[in-house]
């Protein structure tokens, strides 16, 4: 299989003389259609479609087409050396010319602040945008457990290759192998750098870096700062960004929300922002645009994400032609707090590390309403330990989430709404003592007590799967550039590392690697083609058009005179998605969800009510715009889930399962990334990027 793909790529590369990244900027491909940038369409040598390109009746009815394949521009040959070879190929920009090169960075999480700070240090003219009041609020701040690094110092068998294997296998072979290698290589520098700029990583008594284990791997490679690793990395990155702001190399624009992309000559050349305090709509142009705007998990309304997390920046780029890859790959975190009341803000995440000592169970009898401690031992079903004796409670997130969902759906759920399962520490407390448990998880237990009012030392925690991390995102090539030349994407907003399921502690890593060590190399390579070229005028017709579009949309929202707040539509969308495109999916449910989403979107534009005016701080308006984009994104998510007729990682189609109910991949047809295009008229085209693996053999994941 892999050989076939390789041969195909080889043959096509020979025929077409695939553009190298170095050559790309000098000769940007012509625009494919309208004002949209082009991808690098990959014409198949013979027209015989693969099985994945033959649509079934439900797929046909959903109304999308299959487009040409994509080339991710991965260097030929050994993936282990691909990144080093690519770095050698990269073009450079003379330091004297750098200050004339304008860069726009949107987002200030680990990748955004890293890219902005480093490009600023290097001498580029950087403008950085955040919708928050301060760059430090970016949602990277909420990550808890840690950051992986393939430093492999311990004698526990870790190595770069092991890291790549864990990442690729954990992603169920739907991520790019060479990118995972880069992740591993740069991970070493990430720890060094983060420590140097201020992240106080946990230390052993001898002064060396401490590590812990995380789900899905058998070595200890997760570096951490207590349960607040994301916060510490974010604060360190924010400080580095502030340093560059102080030095004048980066101009920071807080409370500015990106509402559209400017594409001219087939290249991304600017963005449109709304000043959240004055409502001013303004165009900004640059030689290159970098989006580091995070994931779209909050499309589910109840998620582990922040209230403000949204997909508007990436979605607006998508509507200008950037492909959206694998939107259906969305991770559900098994240890989130269940929904217990209508006004609950979110399904707060409890760290995965709790599963090291907690035992997950439900009552054997469906609908058993007795308090947990009154249910005798032999009436409890420790279903993970029963079904997966070798991994037990530490199965990967997708497996744990799916099993919890199965228990809840079969009526075994616990709690007042019967929507959760127990995570019980009684045995661990008996075995290790309360003091040890407190030392290990004290802050998490306190947080649980705060959130629920229940004391986890006395009664079991109640947990449920919650929408968490988006493996999908804007499609990027090996250089983190989308199919629109000049539009680079980093962190969770992009798609390339995690395949169909992300390993714990790999998200902080991918964001850091992109921001600090990939984009600062690949963006200048692109910029090298534009030295001496002026930046697009902010009076250019493309800028005016985008501004007019944004203004029209805002006018439409504020003058709609509907009856329901944007929040209502978001809730409803979340309900539809959890029901039809949640932890497990099937064709009928997806078709139903698709219809409901389309209906809801129409209803939204008919009936949304946005209170207040557009020329000042208006949170209802901000929300409305974000929900409007979610309503479009959700449709593509469901299309992707409907289209991908296999189970892989977080995407579990009940039709594609082994007799034991485990996920069944279809590598012959679906070993590929799906990248979606939405045409201006709203119709969809699915492209795919075939994947091949030369370091890792494709195996069936089995955690039994």
């Amino acid at each position: 299989m892999t050989n076939i793909i390789k041969n195909v790529i080889g043959a096509v590369a020979d025929k077409l003389d695939v553009t190298t990244p170095a050559a790309a900027p000098a000769a940007p491909p012509a625009a494919a259609s309208g004002d949209h940038g082009s991808g690098r369409p990959f014409v198949r040598p013979n027209d015989a479609p693969r099985n994945r390109d033959i649509l079934g009746p439900a797929q046909k009815a959903a109304g999308y087409e299959v487009g040409p394949e994509l080339d991710a521009n991965v260097p030929e040959g050994d993936p282990l050396t691909a990144w080093a070879r690519r770095q050698d190929e990269y073009k450079l920009v003379n330091p004297a010319n750098r200050r004339k090169m304008k860069v726009i960075v949107v987002g200030t999480g680990l990748s955004g602040s890293g890219a902005a700070a480093t490009l600023g240090q290097l001498g580029y003219d950087v403008d950085c945008f955040s919708f928050h009041d301060s760059p430090r609020r970016a949602h990277s701040v909420a990550a808890q457990g840690g950051i992986n690094s393939a430093r492999a110092r311990k004698i526990d068998g870790d190595s770069l290759k092991r890291f790549v294997k864990d990442t690729v296998k954990g992603g169920d072979y739907r991520g790019r192998e060479a990118d995972a290698v880069r992740l591993g290589i740069e991970s070493v520098k990430v720890i060094d750098h983060m420590y140097a700029i201020g992240a106080p990583f946990a230390r052993e008594y001898g002064g060396q870096l401490a590590t812990r284990s995380f789900g899905g791997v058998q070595v200890s490679r997760t570096y951490y700062t207590r349960g607040e690793t994301g916060q510490q990395l974010e604060v360190a990155c924010y400080q580095a960004l502030e340093e560059q702001i102080d030095a004048g190399t980066v101009k920071m624009h807080n409370r500015m929300e990106m509402l559209d992309l400017v594409v001219a000559d087939g290249r991304a050349q600017g963005i449109i922002t709304r000043d959240l305090l004055t409502g001013e709509i303004r165009g900004w142009t640059a030689h290159v645009v970098v989006l580091c705007t995070g994931g779209y998990g909050s499309v589910y309304h109840w998620s582990t994400l922040a209230k403000g997390s949204n997909a508007t920046a990436t979605w607006r780029a998508h509507r200008h032609g950037a492909y959206f890859a694998s939107p259906c790959f969305l991770q559900f975190h098994p240890t989130a707090l269940p929904v217990s009341q209508h006004w609950q803000s979110k399904t707060t995440l409890m760290s995965e590390s709790l599963r090291n000592d907690g035992r997950i169970w439900v009552p054997k009898k469906a609908g058993d309403d007795r308090p947990a401690n009154e249910i005798p031992e032999d009436e409890r079903d420790y279903y993970l330990e029963r079904k997966y004796p070798s991994f037990g409670n530490l199965t990967p997130r997708d497996v744990a989430s799916r099993n919890a969902r199965t228990q809840i759906e079969s009526g075994h759920g616990v709690g007042p709404l019967h929507n959760s399962v127990y995570l019980d520490f009684k045995d661990a407390i008996n075995r290790l003592g309360k003091a040890t448990i407190k030392e290990r998880y004290g802050n998490l237990f306190d947080m649980y007590l705060d959130c629920t009012g229940e004391d986890p030392y006395e009664v079991p925690m109640r947990i449920a799967p919650g929408a968490h991390f988006a493996m999908g995102g804007l499609w990027v090539d090996f250089d983190q550039m989308s199919n629109i030349p000049g539009l680079f994407v980093g962190g969770e907003a992009s798609n390339n590392y995690h395949g169909a399921n992300r390993l714990g502690a790999n998200s902080l890593l991918s964001a850091s690697v992109d921001g600090w060590f990939t984009l600062p190399l690949s963006v200048p390579n692109y910029l090298a083609g534009f030295v001496g070229k002026p930046v697009l005028s902010t009076e250019a017709p493309e800028v005016r058009e985008s501004i007019a579009y944004v203004e029209e949309r805002i006018n439409k929202l504020t003058n709609n005179n509907g009856t329901r707040r944007p929040e209502w539509f978001h809730r409803r969308l979340g309900d539809i998605l959890y029901e039809g495109c949640g932890v497990s999916r099937d064709e009928a449910g997806l078709v139903k969800a698709l219809g409901e989403i389309r209906e809801l979107r129409e209803e939204f534009w008919r009936d949304v009510k946005v209170v207040g005016s557009d020329n000042r701080l208006n949170q209802e308006l901000e929300k409305a715009g974000r929900v409007a984009d979610f309503l479009e994104l959700a449709e593509v998510m469901v299309l992707d889930a409907l289209d991908r007729r296999e189970s892989s990682g977080a995407h579990f189609r009940t039709e594609y399962a082994t007799p034991e109910g485990e996920a069944k991949r279809n590598d012959d047809d679906w070993c590929a990334v799906s990248a979606w295009e939405t045409r201006p008229d709203g119709t969809h085209v699915r492209h795919s990027e075939p994947l091949n693996f030369s370091l890792i053999d494709l195996q069936v994941r089995d955690y039994r």
Partner: protein, 252 residues
């Protein structure tokens, strides 16, 4: 439960503010203070009004976005807890809430409960960083740090930047915030290198934006991250250390 809310409404930075009273007949005790405002906003919009503007994001106590004064206290009746983690059930005796924005001249009101906290960013911009060019950092294992120092650095680094310390201070001082940053970075091997410079810049930025410390100790009571009052001594220590080390004139 039934609660009465006196909420500060201010229609823009220059407008006069006033308290608006709302009675909520049926509020779940499970609700956090922010969720209570979510529900209230729904009721307000339903009745044809404009919702109360308040900021929040992560809602799990780490982003530092949220915060307002509840009966005079930053974040709410519970000590050392952010507003998003203060649930009504934790203080059943309180049924009358006076909610107003964080008060300090350094935090001008934008609208209702939303304030501008850029003054805190200015402190970090002026001095809260370590000058290391990307890629030049030495191996973190060859720059050891003893366990206790790492933990102590973490005790200060954990600040979430919400500004409650400033709002708690009758003098509008930001000593706890600044001290936490200085203490954190002074304990990091790489951060130590520019300690003196950092201290001087931090203090002069404090003098630009914030008031003096009279050691009321209210900041440490309000701090959701539990930063200790020692942070305040750290500002003074670091500043005087920079004088005693005699590098004052040569450094920029």
């Amino acid at each position: 439960m039934k609660v009465t809310l006196d909420i500060w409404r201010q229609d823009g930075p220059d407008a006069e503010g006033y308290f608006e009273t709302h009675v909520m007949e049926d509020v779940e005790p499970e609700l956090s203070l922010l969720e209570m405002l979510d529900q209230l906003n729904d009721e307000i919009v339903e009745a044809g009004g404009e919702p109360i503007v308040f900021e929040s994001d992560c809602r799990e106590g780490v982003c530092g976005c949220c915060g307002f004064l509840v009966n005079g206290k930053p974040h709410g009746p519970l000590a050392n807890t952010p507003a998003c983690r203060q649930h009504l059930r934790s203080f059943p005796e309180v049924t009358h809430f006076t909610i107003e924005p964080f008060r300090s001249a350094a935090f001008p009101v934008i609208r209702d409960l939303a304030i501008d906290r850029a003054a805190l960013d200015e402190l970090v911009e002026a001095a809260g960083h370590v000058n290391v060019m990307t890629g030049t950092a030495p191996d973190a294992d060859t720059v050891p740090q003893d366990h206790l120092t790492a933990e102590q650095a973490m005790d200060y680094a954990i600040c979430i930047g919400c500004g409650a310390c400033v709002a708690a201070c009758p003098n509008g001082a930001a000593m706890l915030f600044a001290g936490a940053k200085l203490a954190h970075l002074a304990k990091m091997p790489q951060g130590k290198q520019e300690r003196s410079r950092r201290a001087r810049k931090m203090v002069s930025m404090l003098d630009e934006n914030f008031g003096p410390c009279s050691l009321y100790g209210e900041c440490a009571v309000s701090c959701p991250a539990g930063i200790s009052l020692t942070a305040i001594a750290t500002v003074n220590k670091e500043r005087w250390r920079s004088v005693l080390r005699g590098r004052h004139s040569r450094e920029t």
